[in-house]
Each structure stands twice: as C-alpha cells, then as structure tokens.
C-alpha cells in the first residue's frame, strides 16, 4: 500500500467520468424549487396571500349598486307606517318604523343614518313654503348627527324621496349614467399593484431569506469548499424565481380576469417582459441586502427597511398622485413604482413594452447596480 500512497491514486480505474447528475446549475435550481414547494408556508405567502388580498380588497371596493340608505321612522309619528311605506317604495331607502326609544338608540349606534320624528317646534309657516305650494301635507323633523360624514347625503336622499312620494314634481329631467367600464375601476388599478407588490415581496424574501439562512447554517461555507461555480449558485436563485414568477403572475392575472373581469389590454409579451425585469431587479436588490448579514433577524430588518417605504409610496393600493408634487420624482425613481406604473400601462392602458422604457430603465438600473455591488461584497462564510 505504501507505494500507492506516493503515486497519484487517480491513475487507476476508480475514477469514473460518467455523468450521473445534470448540469450543476440545473441541480442547484432543482434543489431551490424543491426547497420551496416543500415549505407550505412559503407557498401560501407567495401564491395564496395575494389572492386573499385581491379578494378582500376587490370585494371591499367593488362596484355595487348604490347602497340602500337605512333610516328609522319614529313610532310616535301619526303616519309612521305610511311614511315608511312610501319612502321604501323607490328602492333606494330602507325605512323601518321603530318605537321612539329604539329609534333613538339606533341613531346613536349608527345603525340608521337618520330618524324621521314628529315635528319638534311649530310646523314651518306657510310663508316659508315655496311660493304657490299648497299647505304642507305632512309636517315632521329629521334627526341626524351632522358630524357623521354620510349624514348630509342621507338627509338629502331621504328628503328628496319623501318630497316626491308626497307629490312633488321634478322640473328637470335627468338620467344617471354610471361609470362601469373595465379598466377604470379600483380593482383594475389594484390588480397590477398587487402584482408588483408580490413580485417585490417574493423576490426579496425568496432570495434574501434563503441566502442568509444558508450562511447562518454554514452551508454557504460548505459550498465554497467545493468547486461549485459561485455564479451558478446565485443564478440558480434567479432561475427558480423565474419559474415561480411565471406562476405568480399567471395566477393573479387569471384570477383577476375570472373573478373581477380585469382584462389584460396590452400583450402577454409586454406583461411577461415587465414582470421579468421587475423580478430580476428586486432579485439584485435582495442579493445586495443578503450579501453580508449572518442572521435572519439582521436580514429581516434590512428587508423591511428597504420595502416599507415602497409599500407606502409606490402606489400599490392608492395612487401616489395623492402625495405632494415635489415627491413625485423621487417616488417614480423607486423600483416598485416603476414596476407598478409599467404594469398598469400594459394591463390597463394596453401600452406596448417599449413605451414603458423609462420604467424599465429605473428597474434595470437598480437591479444591475445592486447586483454588481453585491458580487463585490458577498460573504460566503
């Protein structure tokens, strides 16, 4: 055996070059995918949560038929039942007769917006009535809380309905035309915003968390001890993100279409291109954030620090036009704003991919810049 010690032991037939595995990049990517799908919590937060958000917000802000105004008629009013009946006829008002005390309580609790009560003081003098009007058919009073935001609207609606019910004739003919066309509703605004938010969240967490996890478990160090091409390791994250990205975007877009009738006005190609650039950009940022921390707590703090301003400012839920003009430019330079704006341009306005070049530039800038710095300072141990 002693002679074998000194010779190169790999001249024998023990070395076999049969390829038993695929390309390391593929193997790494496959490992990433497996790790992800075997983590049910991660799957939920990436795929389920955006749908839950979309459903919740979509329902909360859906275009429903104008809501019926709930009011009460004080039982002490002589004609209470008749008043309630006539008011409810138009279908816009839901009037119920309640005993005095109950009606007052309902008003206090906000269960009804207004109570029709017997007149408190003297009925309006005849001279106060519109000229030429007959003597009032009925006299009563409206009780409501003027500080409640809805109360003025309710008072107007109730008064309008009541006056008509008792014979007032409108002098101007009016037709209501509700704005309902897809592409301009809140849900149309919301779905691209959720898409952007989700691309940011899953790229950031998917990459940053796993990398720091691997570092804190000394797994990065173990990989560094192999001839693994380090670029392959980082690219495997990008590739696995690509797979999930496709699923994420498809699920949310199809869901928006089926449930809320949100249509994709631009091309699938443009949507795919923007999603890809956006996700890659956030992958770069995430790599930068994850390039040095050795603990999950550390990287979580940084993630939140970076994402929080974009949650607030980038117009995922509400347009950033609400912020002061001076802030618009800095806000537009945030990568999530660029992603949201580009997604909306394609989904809602049907713009082609090239028309979103300013946004694409912002995203590419962030992505490339972070990636280059990350490669320089990345810590393998």
């Amino acid at each position: 055996m002693a002679d074998r010690h000194t010779s190169d032991r790999h001249t024998g037939d023990r070395r076999r070059d049969d390829k038993v595995t695929g390309h390391p990049l593929w193997e790494l990517t496959a490992a990433r995918l497996r790790e992800f799908v075997r983590e049910p919590a991660a799957v939920f937060w990436v795929f389920g949560f955006p749908l839950v958000l979309a459903i919740g917000l979509g329902i909360a802000f859906r275009n429903k038929p104008p809501e019926r105004v709930k009011i009460a008629v004080d039982g002490r009013l002589p004609d209470a039942a008749e008043v309630a009946k006539r008011l409810s006829k138009g279908g816009r008002i839901d009037a119920r007769v309640l005993p005095h005390a109950r009606a007052e309580r309902a008003l206090e609790r906000g269960e009804v917006g207004l109570v029709i009560a017997p007149p408190t003081a003297a009925p309006p003098k005849a001279s106060a009535a519109p000229q030429g009007a007959k003597r009032a058919a009925l006299s009563l009073s409206y009780r409501f809380d003027p500080s409640a935001p809805e109360s003025q609207r309710i008072r107007l609606a109730v008064d309008d309905a009541l006056q008509r019910a008792y014979g007032r004739v409108d002098v101007v003919a009016v037709v209501d035309v509700p704005m309902k066309k897809p592409g301009a509703r809140y849900i149309d605004f919301l779905i691209p915003g959720l898409l952007g938010l989700n691309l940011m969240g899953s790229s950031m967490w998917g990459l940053g968390y796993s990398i720091v996890h691997a570092r804190s478990h000394k797994l990065l160090k173990r990989y560094a001890a192999t001839p693994m091409n380090r670029a392959h390791y980082l690219m495997s994250y990008a590739l696995s993100r690509l797979v999930f990205l496709t699923a994420e975007v498809t699920i949310l877009v199809v869901f928006g279409f089926l449930v809320f009738d949100v249509t994709l006005k631009g091309s699938v190609f443009a949507l795919a291109g923007i999603s890809l650039v956006g996700a890659t950009s956030f992958a770069g940022i995430s790599l930068l954030i994850a390039s040095r921390p050795t603990t999950i707590e550390g990287v979580s703090g940084w993630m939140n620090f970076v994402m929080m301003p974009m949650w607030l400012l980038s117009g995922s839920f509400f347009s950033y036009e609400r912020f002061p003009d001076a802030l618009h430019l800095p806000i537009k330079l945030l990568p999530l704003t660029a992603l949201n704006d580009a997604l909306r341009a394609v989904m809602n306005e049907g713009r082609p991919l090239w028309a979103t070049w300013p946004e694409l530039c912002v995203m590419v800038g962030w992505g490339v810049g972070s990636f280059v710095i990350a490669l320089k300072i990345f810590r393998w141990r």
Partner: protein
C-alpha cells in the same frame, strides 16, 4: 510532485482585537497518511483546517495543498480534489439524503455515484428521507457522504464523530479506513484519543494555536517514558511532598494538582511501583480516596505537555 499532500509553515491567524487563533503552526501531511489534530476547545484546530481548505486566509504563513497554493490561479481545480466535512454544517433540511448527495456530486467533474456513497455510509434506508428528519449521527454521515462523493485525494474531517454513539462512531471509522485503503490522505481533528489512536498514522497535538508535539500515537505515548499511569485523588488535607514521590524507584514522572488533589504518576512497572507509592503516601500520612491505574494514552501525553486534560478546555 512533492511528497506532501498538505504542508503549511508559520501559519498565523488573528481575530481582532486580541485572539490569536493560530500562532505559528507548521504541519506536513504525507500522501496516503492520516494525520490527527488533537487539542482542547479553542486550540485552533478548526482555524488551521479551514486555512488548509482554502476557506480562511491566514495572516501569515505558507499553505500548500497537493503541491499547490490557494489563490495561485486554479483554486477550483484544487477544490475538486479535496473533500470537506466542516465542524458544523446544517445541510438543507428540505432535501432528501439522495438529493443532497447528488447535488454535491454535480459540482464535481468526476467522482462516485451518489447511491454508492450512500450505501458505503449505510444510509440506504434513509435515502429518500429529508435531511431535517435525520438524527445527529445520520446527518454526520450525510455530511461525510457529501465529502466522499467526489472521490477526493485529500479528506478534511473536522470532528466527524463528536456527539455520536459508539456504534455510529465505529461506522465512520470504518468508512475512513476504507477511504484510506484506497490511498486517500486524511486530516482529521478530534477530541477522542481512541479515535486518533485507531485512525491516525501520526498525531499533531496543538494548544493555544501552537504545535506541542507531532509523532505517531505509539511513539508519543512511549515518549512519556512510561507504560502505565497511576492516578490517585487524595483526601484533605493533602499537603503532599511531591519530590519524595518523584524520586521513588520506578516512577518516571509525577504531577499533582492541588486544586483537584489529583496525583498523577507515570510508572514503568505498576506491580512493583504501586506498593512503594502507597507506602510513601502512608509515610506522609495521606489517604488516597480513589486510586486508578491505566495504560498510558494520548490523553496523558497531552496532560504531560500542558498540565491540563484534553477536554478541560
């Protein structure tokens, strides 16, 4: 090609502000040899090994692995020829044993089939089990499988059997012996004397970042000038006159730790010497609470050099 598989000279590694983890270590491991690094916690074993593995940059000193230096341009090729099991690596818990070994295999241009290595380590039953569901000993074996799957020329094992039950330890020993039978070189750190004595051709004893002794386990033990050890714990009051015990015929060395009241004697012939020692103790009016004798081991070598036990820290 140089004779040495691993060689380092004057290795120094400092951790600011004031830790000198490795303080001038010289080491040479011949091809086909199994070298043990022995030392208490914090001695600098892991730091030394990781410098040799090319994972840590030394502050000073020269490192050669298979005749090549780290950073000389072909690190990846060199990494392809070494196998590494770090002291603490938590492999991905979501991957199965097979997937893990296969992933590591994919990093190397050549090597063994993952299933073959899994079988060698006796993990066939756990082939499809997630790493996160394995016991500590099984995880150690997976880590070893990942180190062996490339069929490396040099194997670095940092405490491969710490915390394992005797059977699991035996299994790993057998795997290492099998690897060596194929001509592989091993650098192994351990706290276990039996492990070093069984596996290693030579042992380097290291303490406070310095090499204290290098030799084969047998010769290190022999160098104590003793075959056997007598250990006695004395009852209070233990005002011992060490010199008169040391000068007894047959005693080649004595040490006394007044804190633990433990008297350690190295003797050549225990049968003849024991009676003399007991008589001397009686003369000094000392009572031995416990009395033990055993064959000298590497542990005694360590105590001899440092005055401390290997696991005392």
């Amino acid at each position: 090609m140089s004779e040495a598989a691993l060689r380092c000279e004057g290795l120094v590694k400092r951790y600011p502000p004031d830790v000198v983890a490795v303080d001038g270590v010289d080491l040479e491991v011949r091809r086909g040899e199994c070298m043990g690094l022995l030392g208490p916690n914090g001695a600098g074993k892991t730091t030394t090994v990781e410098i040799l593995e090319g994972l840590t940059e030394p502050d000073a000193g020269v490192v050669e692995v298979l005749g090549q230096r780290w950073g000389a341009g072909d690190d990846r090729r060199l990494r392809g020829r070494i196998g590494v099991a770090l002291q603490e690596t938590r492999l991905s818990e979501k991957l199965t044993v097979y997937e893990t070994v296969r992933l590591f295999r994919s990093f190397y241009g050549s090597g063994r089939h993952p299933d073959e290595v899994i079988e060698v380590l006796g993990l066939e039953e756990k082939r499809g089990a997630k790493v996160g569901k394995l016991s500590g000993g099984q995880r150690q074996r997976v880590a070893l499988a990942c180190a062996l799957v490339s069929d490396p020329d040099v194997l670095f094992l940092d405490e491969p059997t710490t915390g394992l039950d005797p059977q699991a330890r035996l299994r790993i020993w057998e795997v290492v012996e099998q690897y060596r039978a194929g001509g592989g070189t091993v650098l192994l750190t351990t706290h276990y004397m039996e492990e070093a004595a069984r596996l290693c051709d030579r042992v380097t004893i290291i303490d406070h970042g310095r090499v204290i002794a290098v030799d084969s386990p047998e010769r290190l033990v022999k160098s104590l000038g003793a075959e056997q050890i007598i250990e006695a714990e004395l009852a209070e009051p233990a005002a011992l006159e060490l010199a008169s015990i040391e000068s007894l015929a047959g005693v080649s060395g004595a040490s006394f730790d007044s804190e633990t009241r433990r008297l350690t004697l190295r003797v050549v012939d225990i049968a003849q010497t024991l009676a003399r020692v007991l008589a001397e103790l009686e003369r000094q009016k000392l009572v031995a609470e416990t009395l033990r004798t055993h064959e000298a081991t590497l542990e005694d070598v360590f105590v001899h050099h440092t005055g401390r036990g290997l696991r005392d820290g």
